[in-house]
Symmetry: C2
Subunit: 376 residues, 2 copies
């Protein structure tokens, strides 16, 4: 599955692994793929620590950093510092929403008294907060790709990244978004179907991928949304993608920080157990359905706010998830794609990469056998 893009990035296989866990970034890149660290949950100081750790352990392999700058969000035109923006946005969060969230957690036995300081989080979900993350990433020579998970990055940011010799990637859910990325000179377009975990649109991968490939050709496209096997990678490459952008699978590897209780929950889930919900981030985001997601779409309850305000409400649930991972499954933020339905066990990262390569070869062999039988 070694495509032209692999040569450009100096990797063996075009398997891009999005993860919040530095150990997984290292394991994927060392196995010949391309690890990408999701930066949104880190302060600039924490991010610097993570990237230094990766640099020490990844050898000569490259890796990427993923940031989140949505095209539209509350306060986006305010031209404020991160601190000013945070204070302004705090005032926009209704007390009713905070009370509802606290009650929901309390009803599930989750202590919230010590979480209040975490409640009003902004994270890196704006240009003001993502820019320092990019600056830090560009100080690390092995970071060769900056990806934006939502929307086209600002023009000056793209220019800055290009001038530093790195490539820019961006996710999209429609050919029209892909066109905007291409016109802004985004190097790699990631077409994410509605099956995907995290923020996604409604158009399925089998329809979206070839449309985006056609729209931006010859610019390379990575297929995202629903990939957890080499069969699915073969399908993506058959439709013209240059590689696979994957996320869910990396929650089910030994190197992930997820607990056995969380991983057992994923192994048990079917593909019907995820839902596109605005209840954590304010934008439709695919995750495991649970009491939290149900509560925020029950008539009569508060409706989710926009981005980034909703996370300033849900942040306390996320903080609780991190603090009490095994006691909060029913109200936790578990972004994961429909591909969760095919997970049965926890594997080593390197074993996943090897399995995917074998499955990919099996799939191409199946097609060759069909063609050979037809020509007899």
């Amino acid at each position: 599955m070694h495509t032209a893009l692999c040569d450009q990035l100096g990797i063996d296989v075009p398997i891009f692994a999005f993860t919040h866990c530095r150990d997984v970034v290292v394991a994927v890149s060392r196995a010949g793929g391309f690890g990408v660290l999701g930066a949104v949950g880190f302060t600039p100081e924490q991010l610097e620590i993570e990237l230094n750790w990766i640099d020490e352990h990844i050898g000569d392999h490259p890796y990427g950093v993923d940031i989140v700058i949505p095209n539209k969000y509350e306060g986006m035109d305010a031209n404020m510092s991160a601190d000013e923006l945070k204070s302004t946005l705090n005032a926009l969060v209704p007390q009713e929403h905070l009370d509802f969230a606290k009650k929901l957690l309390a009803d599930h036995g989750v202590p919230t008294g010590d979480l209040d300081d975490n409640a009003l989080q902004l994270l890196g979900w704006t240009e003001a907060t993502a820019t320092p993350q990019v600056e830090i990433a560009l100080q690390h020579p092995k970071v060769t790709l900056i990806a934006n998970a939502l929307g086209t990055p600002p023009a000056d940011m793209i220019k800055h990244i290009h001038e530093s010799g790195r490539k820019v990637a961006a996710l999209c859910g429609s050919p029209a978004q892909a066109r905007k990325h291409a016109e802004a000179d985004v190097d790699i377009i990631i077409a994410q179907g509605g099956e995907g975990g995290g923020h996604c649109g409604e158009v399925g991968s089998i329809v979206l991928w070839p449309q985006v490939v056609k729209e931006v050709a010859p610019r390379p496209v990575l297929a995202a949304g629903g990939i957890g096997s080499g069969y699915q990678i073969a399908a993506a490459l058959a439709m013209g993608a240059q590689g696979a952008w994957t996320g869910s699978q990396w929650l089910m590897v030994e190197e992930a920080e997820n607990t056995p209780v969380q991983q057992a929950t994923y192994a048990k889930a079917t593909s019907r157990d995820t839902v596109r919900s605005r209840s954590f981030t304010g934008k439709p985001c695919r995750m495991l359905r649970n009491d939290w997601t149900d509560a925020w779409q029950t008539a009569g309850n508060p409706e989710p706010l926009g981005m980034p305000l909703q996370y300033m409400v849900s942040g306390m649930a996320v903080a609780a998830t991190h603090k009490y991972p095994d006691q909060t499954i029913d109200v936790a933020f578990n972004p994961i794609g429909q591909v969760v339905g095919q997970f049965t066990k926890v594997e080593k990262t390197s074993a996943v990469i090897e399995r995917w390569v074998q499955e990919y070869l099996e799939a191409t062999s199946t097609l060759n056998q069909i063609n050979e039988a037809a020509s007899v």
Copy 2:
């Protein structure tokens, strides 16, 4: 793309074309594929006329008939004749729903005065009404496949079809449904992803197809939902499907009975312009979004009834669509999949099949080139 299933059915390419139009059935089967006539809209007498016409024009090629028996519907356990059932169900349709539907049509300038007789339709959506359709189909030797669009067919119906020497197919949207089909000895499992037009689930094709293939192996699986090119067929076959079950594309061929105005609407639509709506059939069914689908999900308006009751309300809109196809686009029933976004023009049926074969070969060639480059 000639798979083992092609030999079993005596066809050249595993392209199954679901259509309500006899001309398309004939054109697909004559071009080497397998045409399947959707019977649900026909009375037994009309169906007999259609099948006779197909027999006269299809040459020695086989074809199929598709019926609809949902696993659950109002009155399913009533053990009544079709007429008794119709009368019983009529009494369950609230006048409020009928009035709302009539007003919606009137507000769009659609005359409904002469459509009242068509308002309370039951169609073939029950075992009582589908059984006579199957009996008629089995009188036609070139009909070699009976497919059920919703759920596992009743055991005695499967037995009856098998004894007549035909194969049985059934659609599913999850591995669990596929397992039920296989246990009932359904010969061909059709895995339909949420991208698909008509009744569909929520799991995307790229995730669903390989799960179903694995669940029922070695029973043959057809991939459905989002196929409108040979690239997408290559993706399906790479993941282990034995062929493609397609529908939307056949609304965009010269042989279809759709009008130029309807086809221009499809050509203009993007993949985001469809919606899963209960507003016509009572079950989630993917169709073009329009004023009708919006109205039935607006808070304060009547909520859609179950199957088959909702169609006894929407039947008048469907009848109006048939009578005034070009004046009713905004309230018409236009079941079509997300693949509509890749349609740009009307083609001859034989040209579609030829194009798909070429695109399929192009896709497999792409994979071979990747493999060859990797082994250098």
